[in-house]
Every structure is written in C-alpha cells, then in structure tokens.
C-alpha cells in the first residue's frame, strides 16, 4: 500500500478494477500485514488476485496521472445488516431511514460502521442509508462507512441539504450509489468517497438501469477528491433536471441553469460508458429560471482536475454547456474519445471549452482493445475552444487527436 494502514488481520477489503470492465474488482480477506516499511505496508491476502491491478503514477509533460488502484476497507467492528438467511435471496435487506420535516429536526451521525445486505429491491425509497425530506442537516454526516452487497442504492440525499459524506466506501451496490434525488438538494459536501463497482438495478427506476456512482440532479453541491472506481455505466452523472421534481416539485427551481458547486480533483475509471457525463445540460446563470440577457449573464463554471482513465467510451462527455470549462483534465485510455461536447450555448459568443488539459491515447496501463479513438470530438456548434491541451501517443491505427462534429453520424 502507498501509506500506513491500521487494518486488522481477518478484515475484508475491496480492490478496484483497473481495466475497462469493472467486474475485475475483487474482494479478499487480509491474512497478514508486513509493516517492515511502515510507509509501504505489504498486505497478504487469503488467496491470489485473479486480475492484474495497475498502480502507477505517470507524467505526461507536467501532468500527473495518478492511476493507482484503490483499496477499500469493508470490515468494521460495528455491523448493521439484513438477516443473512434470506436478505440476498430476496434482494431485500435492512435500511436506515431518517425522516422528519424541518431544518435540523433530527441528527444522524455515522462513522466507521459496516452496512451489508442492505437496501430493498423493487421498493422506491428503501435505500441503505436514506436521509429523506428533512431540510438542512448541519449536524449529520456519514464518515468512513462501508456499504457492500447493496440491493437498492447506497447513500441517498433526498430533500436534504448540508449533509456531509466523507471517506465512505461502497462495493457492489445496485443502482445509483451516492444519489441526489429531487433536483433541489444543495450544499451537500461529498468528499473523498470511493465507489467500486456500481451495478445496474432492474428493480427500480429507469435511470438505475444505467447507474452512476454519483448521480447529481442539482448542481449546487460539492464533489471533491472522490473516486468513481467502476460502474456498469457512469462515474459522475450530472443528470440536471429542468425543475425540481418528486415531492419537492417546484417550477421556480431550475437545476440545469442554476449555479454549480465545486467539482474538483475527482477520479473516474473503469466505467462502462463515461467517467463524467453532463446530460442534458449545464448552463448556470445569475437568475436560473430566466433567459440570459445583459442583466442575467452566464456564470463561468470551472470543473477542474478530473483524472479519468480506462472508461470504455469517454473520459468526459457533455451534451449542452453554457460557460462551463473543463480545466486541468487528465484523460487516458478512452476507447471512443477523451472528451466530447455536443452543443455550446451562445453561438459565436459561446464560451465553453477545454483548457490546460492532457489527453493520452494509450498509457502504460493499456493492453489493447482500442481502435480509432479520438482525443477530442468537437461540437456541432460554433466557437468551441480547446486551449493549451496536449495529446500524447496518438499514433495507434486510425486514431487522431481531433474528431469533428460529435453525434453527427
């Protein structure tokens, strides 16, 4: 490991995939830890790993690509679980459900606990850890909670603001994992969470059939240093809605046009489609529910330092952006494209673009499987900006740094 670990013999750990298929993630038990070099402990497992797990930092120009395999601790001394005799067979586990109406009307504080065989398939609202229609929860948090073998989402933020989710780990949970539900939730702080192997749920809503490790329906929430380490479909999906919906339905809330929170220093790899997906639109402006004008300008929004590698199609894709810039992105080993953006708002005055980024066609982790990949596929509209972007190793087959007119075919 890359740093000291205080893990116990007998603990379960999850090891992320570092390939295109997230099903190369693995679960093992620790049988020994050699701490001869305390800063580089060597963990011995109960049986050998089946798959290769890549762990290197590579530099391309000045850009640091940290592609070291993540390892999450699943075992904790406090365990909350569904009855093991039937939970898995019925896909019907235990839940923790917090609900009372009103800001700070309850407190839920969770740290260093393990939740397994949790969530109830086929039941909307029956999620592993569910903060439901509360309002602000300034005192509540989940830190270093592990959720594994989950049947219906992991951490649900519904009609809830100011929740802190910090350093949590999820492994093999069905549906969206960190889930912002009604497109009204704001000021939630999502920091250093590790989500390994989010899998499709065929027993929930349509969108859970294409799961995202982080499903974000309202932009004014902060996502910092999270790792979306493998999903059937998406790592981070900004599925911004035209209006708040569900029990929070409100025509005066306009998520696609609302100002965004922080998105920086996140990682996304081994996702079946895209590391980061913005679909359909992100076009923040001062008064979100009004048309832009001289007195209602766009808000410049920077999404910074995403590291995305070995995502089966793209590192990052967006359908429609106003003044949203991808800055310091590091993308490697995408099979279709590093980045695609379809439409820019503003015609000849459009401001969206890709800045100071590095796109690597094939890194040291690449072992074949690609064809005619592109670095960037340009938009269907005018004034698409690509500034100070470097491309490396684009010499394979028919590959090229640029393709044109995304989704025009």
């Amino acid at each position: 490991m890359s740093e000291p670990v205080d893990w116990d013999i007998g603990s379960l750990i999850a090891i992320a995939s570092t390939n295109y298929s997230h099903y190369e993630s693995e679960k093992r038990t620790i049988v020994a830890i050699d701490r001869t070099k305390p800063d580089r402990p060597v963990v011995t497992l109960d049986k050998p790993l089946k798959n290769k797990h890549f762990a290197e930092i590579e530099y391309y120009g000045g850009a640091k690509f940290d592609m070291r395999c993540e390892v999450g601790l699943l075992s904790k001394n406090v365990v909350y679980r569904g009855d093991p005799s039937d939970s898995k067979g019925n896909q019907y586990g235990a839940t923790i459900f917090l609900h009372s109406s009103g800001d700070d009307s309850l407190i839920g504080r969770f740290s260093d606990i393990e939740m397994t065989e949790v969530g109830q398939a086929f039941k909307v609202g029956r999620y592993a850890l569910h903060f439901h229609m509360i309002g602000a929860v300034h005192k509540s948090y989940a830190k270093r909670v592990s959720i594994h073998t989950g049947f219906n989402r992991a951490f649900t933020i519904h009609g809830t603001h100011y929740l802190r989710l910090i350093e949590n780990v999820a492994y093999f949970v069905k549906g969206h994992n960190i889930f912002i539900e009604d497109a009204i939730e704001s000021h939630n702080f999502i920091y250093r969470n590790l989500i390994i192997s989010s899998v499709k749920s065929m027993s929930l809503l349509n969108s859970d059939q294409s799961p995202a490790s982080f499903w974000i329906t309202f932009p004014e929430n902060d996502f910092i240093e999270n790792h979306a380490a493998g999903s059937d479909n998406y790592g981070f999906w900004y599925d911004l809605q035209p209006h708040a919906m569900g029990p929070s339905a409100n025509e005066d809330v306009c998520p696609t046009k609302n100002k965004a929170g922080i998105f920086r220093d996140n990682h996304a790899h081994s996702n079946g489609r895209y590391g980061l997906r913005i679909f359909h639109e992100m076009s923040p402006r001062v008064f979100p529910c009004q048309n832009t004008s001289d007195t209602n300008p766009w808000i410049e929004t920077k999404m910074t330092n995403l590291t995305a590698w070995k995502n089966l199609r793209d590192g990052a894709i967006a359908e429609r952006l106003a003044d949203v810039k991808f800055v310091d992105f590091k993308i490697a080993d995408s099979l279709k494209a590093g980045i695609e953006i379809s439409f820019l708002e503003g015609g000849g005055y459009a401001k969206a673009g890709i800045h100071n980024s590095t796109i690597v066609l094939r890194s040291g982790n690449y072992e074949g499987g690609g064809g005619d990949s592109r670095g960037i596929i340009t938009a269907k509209t005018e004034n698409f900006t690509v500034r100070n972007v470097s491309f490396y190793n684009f010499d394979e087959g028919e590959s090229a740094a640029f393709g044109t007119c995304t989704h025009c075919e």
Partner: protein, 117 residues
C-alpha cells in the same frame, strides 16, 4: 413466532449489555437506548430486531467521542410482506426526530496501492 416489543418512554434509558438479544419485534425509542461496548475488545454483542423506531429519542451505538470499541452486529429481520411503519417501511432503523449515533473504531477507510499487483 411470538416476539416481544420494547417501549422506552421519554425520560428512561435502556442499556443493552447482554451478549445476545432474542429476536425482538419492535424497539420504540422515545427515551434513550444505549448499546454499550464491552471492556473486552474481542467481545461480540448481537442484537436481533425487526424494527427499531427512534421517535424523538436517542439511540447510541458508540458516540463521536467514545466509539464502540468491541464488536457488535445488529441484524434486522423481515421481508417484503412484513407490516410497514408508514413512510419508513420494515426491516429498518427509522429515525423521526431525535438522534441516531453509530460509531465504530476509526480506521483508514481506503487507500491506493503502491505497486501494480
């Protein structure tokens, strides 16, 4: 199967310090429920219940300041046909008002490998 339920009214505290509970139907917490660690770190306490409903009360399985230091497993029972607490459902710790604290021993939750394996 006949199962008992427990009501902890406001003003009362129930301390669970037995090794293993029977399968309890409902624990209704209007006062406070404390599941206490053992001084023996290898001790493993086992709690079995169908519903735990924190209704304006407090439930503690460790606190921020004093996390649970031995081992505890809370196992929840029920299936899709079991009766529902309105809104909250079944096989659930439900919290309506009040405080739920669950805290284990702090460990590094994840890291990255140093070398390809």
């Amino acid at each position: 199967m006949h199962m008992e339920s427990i009501h902890i009214p406001k003003g009362l505290n129930l301390l669970i310090d037995i090794d293993e509970t029977p399968e309890i139907n409902l624990i209704l917490v209007e006062g406070s429920l404390t599941i206490a660690p053992s001084s023996d770190p290898t001790h493993h306490r086992k709690i079995h219940a169908h519903y735990i409903f924190v209704h304006g009360g407090t439930m503690e399985v460790g606190t921020e300041e004093f996390p649970y230091t031995s081992k505890v497993t809370i196992t929840m029972y029920g299936n899709i046909k079991s009766p529902y607490i309105p809104i909250f459902g079944n096989k659930v710790i439900a919290v309506k008002g009040g405080i739920l604290d669950m805290h284990g021993v702090q460990k590094k939750s994840w890291t990255v490998m140093n070398k390809t394996a």
